[in-house]
Amino acid sequence: MMNYVEHFPALATMVLFLGAFLVTIFGGKNKTLRIFLAMAAATASFVMVLCVAKYVIIDGNIITYWLGNWTPVKDYAIGIGLEVDSLNAFFALLVTLTTYLSGWYSIKYMSRDEGGDYYYTLYLMLSGSVLGLVLTGDIFNMFVMIEIMTFACVALTAFRNWSKGALEAGFKYLVIGSLGSTCTLTGIALLYAQCHTLNMAQLSAMIAKVGITGNSTMILAFALLITGFGIKSYAVPFHFVAADAYMAAPASVSMLFSGMVNKAGVYGLIRVCYIILQTMGLGKVQTLLVAVGTVSMFVGVTMALNQHDFKRLLAFHSISQIGYVLTAIGLGTALGVAGGLYHAMNHTLFKGLLFLCAGAVYYATGRTNLNNMGGLAKKMPQTCIIFLIAAFSISGLPPFNGFVSKWMIYQAIYAKSAQSFGYLFVTVVALITSTLTLASFIKVTQSAFFGQSRPEFDDVKEVPGSMLLPMWVMAILCVFTGVAPKFVTEKLITPAVNAVMSVNKYIDTMMGAGYTEKITGSAATEISAEQITIGNWTPVMWLVLFGIVLVAFTVVAVFGKSSRGYTNNSKEQPDNKHATFFGGEMATRSTVVGSDLFWGFRHNFKGYFEKLEGIHSGVVNDYAVWAIGALAVFVMYLNAVL
């Protein structure tokens, strides 16, 4: 029975590519038409994915869709298939949401740049390719989508080619991205050589039959695929280009990068490790992923402490947060996957929001260097509030969303540490990373938004409403997912985790019932994850408390008003009484900002920071050495232990 919703996964992808095509043809001259076309495509895709998400996640169906209706013949997949289970739908939702909000934001933000038609073409191509990547059920199709994605990413990174380093970042991204694609393609070719199929479900069944342990071809393919998707998710030895690209791209694109491009890498890793090769049951593979994740966490955050460019700092935080996600999904437990997926979603929300804030600051002042900012809170009050929400979210302060997912991740890691002492260490690193995240956002807050205002910012105004709207939407989503964790886990996360955990159901739905049993000899059983506990965290109670105390304070403040002086200077020129205290001197402009704010911390880690700066040398060859070296290490490690 074909429901009309079952066509939507393919259509949602195509409408974006169609939009890209139409913008190129018709959008060259007419600004309004181009924006209309792009937004229509993004909206249509978003609505379709919402329908799909309801059909798949809430109603519990799995959509299989064979392009051209080429269904499998004699149990062999001959066409390209789309399979949308809750995991795909979850990621598709993130992708289209990001696209849609970024589209709204771009209207004003990109209005000052030339070449808007190219921008919207690339923007739609990027969104379409990532959406295709997360919806497809064919591994070679996945590779093609990765290539389109890399291509669009490079072009968008180098889009503002007049700005400092955009071209350079684009080139570095291209080199490392192509290396990643090559790895992925070689891995796919090896898998094909072994199993003679490209369909992910069928591959999974075949590999389960052959078994990966001791089969060095499979292990090589696995290592290549991990490297390929690792490069796309910018885990640590591959993260150098991410920092450059995020910094150089326009903010609306940086949001796409952190919101969906590296999520695509995470999705790929989940697919490869949990479904296709089914290696997550093996302790050694878990160790590998957790190690990569932990190093990403710590290196990302310490590099972020070192930065003085707003967007570069955020880029390093992306790496750090992806480290959390990788650690969580590397644990191989249901709670770990749940935490990882929750954190992936939260990262999309708060990091996208932070990039939009950086973009708003850039739009208003034309600067991203934190050393040259200050006092924007008075000029841009809404942006400041939004930024604080996002910063507290990413630092994991309750009751915002970062706290919930980080907590699930800690619980998962700590529960695992009953087996091995190493995981205890990972728990400590994760908790310290969270504090350091708070520290570096304090730095941004102090440098950009608070502190004394600069005279050259006197005529800075708040950004227009069409930029604030997507920011507020994301801010509200940040608070909502933090306040109602039970609701979100039940409705969104648990189905996705179940999908990750039930490999055989995935195979059977695609290839026809009974297929798994025929190939592997084990019956298809749906494994449903145990009740994912989110501990005893009831944010609603906390909010009740908060409300009561706030009311009490307000009452005291209102009734005590008559007995208390209260002066607030709103005049342009401050009198002595309301001027900042400077030890008696006239108030002059003097701010404490910039990369050296946490001197007491950096001083003790001088050697570490110097070494880290040396590693991020900016030479593309060094980055290639790191990536290829990591590939070699993965191959050797996996060959040695599997």
């Binding site: 005590g560 008559s562 007995s563 002086g565 209260y566 002595n576 001027a579 205290f581 008696g584 001197e585």
Partner: protein, 153 residues
Amino acid sequence: MFDNLINKSAAKSPWLFHINAGSCNGCDIELVAVLTPRYDAERLGFRLAGTPRHADIVVVTGPLTAQIKDRVLRTIEQVPEPRCIVTMGSCPASGNVFKDGYTYAGPLSKYVDVDVDIAGCAAKPETVLEGLYQAAMILEQKRKDMKNKGGQI
């Protein structure tokens, strides 16, 4: 009820901010002596504050030189109401031996309303303690006046 409590507390917890307006350091060490265990001003609630925003009583020592005059006045202005201004030693009140010097810009009472003058060169700790105690009483009165004026300053 709370207002009575607040008025009483105003006298029981006066925080000092000390400004050296060109003093010879004699009065400064006497002020520190008041806070040391022998005289222990903290038993009356006195405490040195680090910034004028926290202070209730501003203690000025020294003759108020021309260079520092503006700074002293600016700092005094930054102290929130109700506040007391106490001059310590002879210099800020009369100029003492610096009176006819070319750098002398005092006395302090020329510019602001001084509440308590503590005499002596240098002032004895006992005197200082007595003066500060009187300042605390004045603080309570000022707080009452402020209340009667409906919080208007």
